[in-house]
Subunit: 492 residues, 4 copies
């Protein structure tokens, strides 16, 4: 393609060493000033996307209105002057991941996307990733569609525009049947709030109730809590719900039935610990991962510490199971929420120190078990280990609350290319050596499955979750990536 | 239409009392850092559009890049950091009119528009107005195009996207053959700079040469001067030029031949006095209007003054012809270029005083002839008259350098609705009474034609210019407006 | 005083329900680009002051330079363009507390303050509060000094300006001998870094070493860690150190000797848990407070939770001592570091919900012990209790890691007026009733003293710490406040 | 001095080629929301200072409030939100000159300055320049005053602070008696508006009346017009007026009597043409300068043009007297009011082209007389000449509406150092040669005096005006400058 910057390439976190959920979606119908609720919901979902946020609302007299902004929800969608431009009882919103330094990031890539059809307008917000977006885009351009963004999600609205169906929900069905990959979509017309989950149900989407006639769709339950909405149920894999304030929820299953493949990493890292997914508390699952880890990989030590904040529940579980005291060996600087913009060279080199400091008095002379959520490139893990040893720890034992991350995710998570993943190129022992720690243990895939409640562990014939990032078994063929040269795991 | 604010209605200057050109276009090929030249050209064309400006450039390695900003060219496109994002030897730009307080103004309405086609991208900048845009838009939406702006100009890029032609200039021909109204378009592909003028040639477009291989397209010649380019010739009505640095200018005439109808108001007000249009100096034309006015409507007085700055050349001509001394009776505050944002109530009520002050010492006791370019709503004229009388003038005689403006323009000028035009509802004598001046005279249509060099005056069978705003004779049927209820002048 | 807004009154957190340290100070000498180190140090001290920060540096060729900004260190002092304006090997900085919504907050109130004397310039940064500032200010104004800020700290620089001493350290001694109250001052001349602590040593100040010739002064040790400096020792109460890169540290004790009265609340809340003060780990002290609390006020329960983040170490200690499991019952939204600006009414009413969410799955049906650091007005405690009960807790037991806060602090902490302090108007039982919890217990003063290592508890004749906020025994008479009507505790 | 940047050196326009008035002052008492009137007044005085503006107001309940901003009045003091912070019926303001690119420009240098004295606060705004400021500053610092700005004007407020007088007007008298140089001061206390002019009356200051009880002080009468105030009279040289809404104007003459030395350059260039100074219309004076020039230095030509806008009245006068037609040969871009910030290299090199364009069609083949207000460095004049010749002029004759500017001004005008003034190093003939024009003539000093109404011309024993910039005869010894090495003209 010859227009690299006008339509930016898919962003990825070149410098970072964590996996990032790329989106959170939220929608409300049947409450006054619905956009205010959407702002609160997006604030609660901020961990799913920190680069930018957008809200669309509809008011019978004012029509569709939209605001899309870079930066945090709290810094944009809390201003009276802005929120007043988003009137109406129906509103949806979207947060997207922060791609630090990505040249091509542009406000036009920020969702929700809007399309005006002959029967009226519609807006959509998409969490997930379309694995055949390149082919769809080529086809649509050939037929005369003009893309405004670099986002794969924009295909959906163009497919809808070209559908021959006479109502918008039917057009959305048409469009999503052409789409492969992972999608949890929240959409709206002038009267309807619509939610859809792909047949595998890779990304979460839940339904809530607020007030007399109000309904909510959200990526996670924690965003229901913030507005005082009641959690009703999860949207099912392959389900579409069409909701109005007057008629409530109409459900249908327009897609071919398939075995559920919910992303197991949502449990490990992406979702907030106070969310409930698949009927399970995320916090409790993480605590249980710690318990499993302590059983699988015990070690004699004085102290269990977490790499904050994501490793803390597993560390608590590890400490509880092992009987070794839990302590705050690493303190997080709470003023680091936002990425430093235009940092000086010196500060860029400071790395994790700006964010984390070792509690030297606690660590000194101790044998320390350090529980982290995952190892991606390994760069952060090395720095943390150095900080711990500098502070005088006698021994450092890493325990990782997920199996080795050896494969990229193509379903809505920003992962480095495969050759940048430490576990793709090294054995566990090589990694231990590379990180320079006294021991390094990852939870087993079976242990992880036990922690999410599968007492028998992972069924290797048809796993209960999408665990492609650990197993290399991709439930949907990543067509675009294969076209770009990605090599699938050889069949065994 | 039920989405009023997402796609803002066509902006119009609710408070203002002047007519505004809605756009200026500029393009360069064959010079290093072409976007810098475009920025300078747009600065020279700022009077044609003060709300916002945009620039697109193409560089073989960096692809298409784009920047669109609200505000003046000088405040945005002078920053090194921004201009560095617009590399390449091919670039086009656009300035658009400032619609003070328009709620719906959005950055997505700012041109150039960009479309990615299967054979590569193209960007277009349009000066003029498409009179069948509503019908085109409905048709395109019906077929699945998604509009991103409220601009009529966006139709062009969608028509191009759907053309079956295999190269972009041919697609542009296809598209523009479907379009009615006025258009001077500057466009670019990865290698070509393209210019087109509608068959009537309503809006100006000129060709210039810069350096060895460089070519320039511009709305006016004054923008050639600022970059030191040589004025070659006007693009002809109905002509398309396709320009490359290597092969120079290729000309074609893809449209049906029609009699030229250049906008006569460009001479009266829109164009800059240092521009040359139709082979005539705008300044000299305006001075000549003053001469004609002095002949048509002489009056005994002590002083000829202009309403600055646009009335000055005609006032100089009037003074010269009449022998009455020219003086600066009204002084313009040079710090008012930019519209006050968020003004206090008190300041809003100050009206013209913030912008103009009477030179009391000069005016006191004098019989004053005041030369203004036009009367639109008449509100400003009344205030100026009051200021002059407050300052102690003995008599005030208005001489207007254009005929009564009795009809709206539908070809790219922002005019109030017909019933807001003073001359649409009042005779010259009623207007004199309404304005409360000692005498009021407009130049005759024939006088105006003489001033632009038509010695015989206006040919009533087929006028040499578009003068619809004075005569009500529209050379292109304003289809959209008629659909919205506009009543054409009854045939006589 | 008749000029309330030009010189804003001392800010206080009208809405808030926590106590706030008002300042952090930091200084470096003997390293290249010292201001970069100061920026990092201030970032680590951000919890001591979130409203604004300032840095002054000195370079032999560039002279003194200064930058003062509202907002977080990370958002201002990380920009290359700004940091380049602060060259030199000697630099000091200051962060101050955020007074949300205070009308009078002005950039001129942001330290360091600078004064040009006949022997050269000096800059000072002050942590603490001068208790006779009103009287000093009146006297200085009477003699012709012009104050530029509303800050009590500005008195110091004016006193220095009027000193008859011929060198700046001696002028600083002169000035500080006139000053009553609490002060930890970091100052600089063209060649010297100066640190002083008041005779009682109320606020902390520590000395560190960096590189070959570099020296650091900082409010807390955690800011030494971030730049990799070595902790040398605390500056002693009543000590002044004058430091140069060439001659190192010269110490003197210019003030009358007095028993040390370090602020015990620094241990409870203000300082970061990874700092070491008075030879003790703050984290360990807080954990020990939890242990003491568990001994003093045991209760049968299923779960020990913290009000994050400040209550966590005490909760860990309580859990460990009591054997009741520790769990994350309340989850903190990590994107709330910054105060919402211009929030909508709806969001203001959301209160703590924006910041905290209950982990419903964990809490439901449980008897919960909730450990918080303090109770100030009690408004937050009530809301947290309600959230916990809404989530289905069976019982809620509050355990507070400090004694009842019944008296305001006049030594550099922003406290509500006495009648706004819950503990000033209610007994413990009344508070329990008011908060609507099943039980409420504060640690005893003796328990707190034991937790900070005083095995015998508090010596009532001459307490080892300043504990005025609990005891009402003020080690320095708050002269200004008494003048304004404050009533000291009656002698018993 | 060793602190160059913290206290910036006095700014001067390193790149520019015009002289700049450094300040305008304005004050109102006795009207509701006085600050709104001050904002309008400052807008009308913007030509006297374009860098920054400040307003102070007093309200009995709200005290003194202040706002100081970089940029134009119209961009800052038109915002409702800002103006609401400046309540009260008494207000003063100040605009200061823009020093493009000056590193040290800081908001603390923006007036009015404020001082809190024991009897209440006072604010002052100063137009002019104190010629003994360095000595005063040294003395004040020695005694313990702390300066906050690099402004000479700050001395006044410190001198007031140290006065032993018991009321503020008396303290101001005390202070101004110590001050040498030029000053027109507008000041305010909680109840009084105060105006003072130095004994020579170098800078203007006028008194106006508004409404029932309102009074105005302003640098020029054009600022009375904008608020509809009536011009009463000029403040006399050496006069002090103390004004209250209740008691009106009290006048005194506290200084030693001296012959008036009003700045003659105010007539030539600084003041607005619609102002009246010394009982004369500035416009008429300038027109008369043109008349005198035409008499002194006639030349055969086709066209008289002005270098806009300042040369226009003289050009009109020249044309009238000579009978040669006046035409707009150079067109000014009206969008250049604001200095380009961060311009690209290319744009910096464009120089005057961004601002001015030649009306080629008018100029071609003509003998042109070009009337400009002054020649400072000559760089602009050269570029304009080149533009005129490029456009095909047959001959170019420069006529300058002021005598050769051969000496810097030390009384409140920003002038280059003497060796940068073209007329300081070249004879008229050398200048003609340097500029490459066909002829070059300056008006004579006597001609200029005749134009300002002195029929006999300049009295060489005791000139009626300050004309030091032309004659080198400084009515006040510039003590600071002599200390810095400036060489006065040798006595003849």
């Amino acid at each position: 393609m010859s227009e690299p910057r006008f339509f930016a390439a898919t962003p990825h976190d070149a410098a970072g060493d964590t996996l990032h959920e790329e989106c959170g979606v939220f929608g409300v119908v049947g409450v006054t000033d619905a956009a205010n609720f959407v702002a609160l919901g997006l604030h609660a979902l901020q961990h799913r996307g920190q680069e930018a946020g957008g809200i669309v609302s509809y008011h019978p007299e004012e029509g569709f209105n939209s605001a899309r902004r870079f930066g945090y929800v709290r810094d944009n969608f809390t201003k009276q002057s802005l929120m007043e431009t988003l009137p109406g009882a129906l509103s949806i919103g979207h947060v997207r991941y922060s791609t630090a330094g990505s040249k091509g990031a542009a406000i036009r890539d920020v969702q929700p996307f809007f399309g005006e059809f002959s029967m009226g307008g519609a807006a959509i917000a998409h969490n997930g990733n379309i694995t055949n977006a390149n082919a769809l885009r080529r086809e649509l351009i050939e037929r005369g569609s003009i893309f405004q963004s670099s986002s794969d999600s924009e295909c959906i609205i163009h497919l809808m525009a070209r559908s021959l169906q006479r109502d918008i929900p039917s057009r959305m069905e048409d469009a999503l049947r052409r789409v492969e990959g992972a999608f949890s979509v929240v959409a709206m017309t002038r009267t309807k709030l619509i939610g859809v989950r792909d047949p595998l149900g890779v990304r979460p989407l839940v339904l809530g109730k607020i007030g007399e006639d109000g309904w909510v769709l959200s990526s996670e339950t924690c965003a229901l809590d913030i507005i005082g909405a009641e959690f009703i149920r999860e949207i099912e894999p392959g389900e579409m719900v069409v909701i109005t304030a007057t008629d409530g929820v109409e459900s249908s299953h327009p897609f071919r039935k398939a075995p559920s493949k919910f992303c197991i990493f949502e449990h490990v890292y992406f979702s907030r610990p106070d969310s409930i997914i698949g009927g399970r508390s995320v916090y409790e699952t993480r605590r249980q991962i710690g318990v499993e880890l302590a059983r699988e990989a015990p070690v004699e030590a004085d102290l269990v510490c977490a790499v904050p904040d994501s490793g803390t529940p597993a560390a608590i579980g590890f400490a509880h199971e092992s009987g070794i005291p839990f302590g705050m060996g690493i303190i997080r600087n709470q003023y680091m929420g936002r990425t430093f913009i235009e940092p000086t060279e010196q500060i860029r080199n400071m790395g994790v120190r700006l964010k984390l400091n070792v509690n030297r008095a606690l660590i000194r002379g101790k044998k320390v078990i350090l529980v982290d959520d995952s190892v991606v490139r390994g760069t952060t893990s090395r720095k943390i280990k150095e900080m711990i040893l500098d502070a005088g720890a006698a021994e450092v034992h890493f325990r990782i609350a997920s199996p080795p991350t050896a494969w990229p995710c193509f379903y809505g998570v920003d992962t480095p290319q495969r050759d940048k993943l430490l576990a793709a190129t090294m054995s566990e022992d090589e990694m231990r050596h590379h990180l320079g720690v006294d021991s390094l243990k990852f939870i087993s895939l079976d242990g992880l499955y036990r922690a999410v409640g599968e007492a028998e562990g992972r069924k290797s014939s048809c796993p209960q979750y999408c665990d492609a990032c650990f197993s290399g078994e991709y439930p949907v063929v990543p067509a675009d990536k294969i076209e770009e040269g990605f090599q699938m795991k050889a069949a065994e």
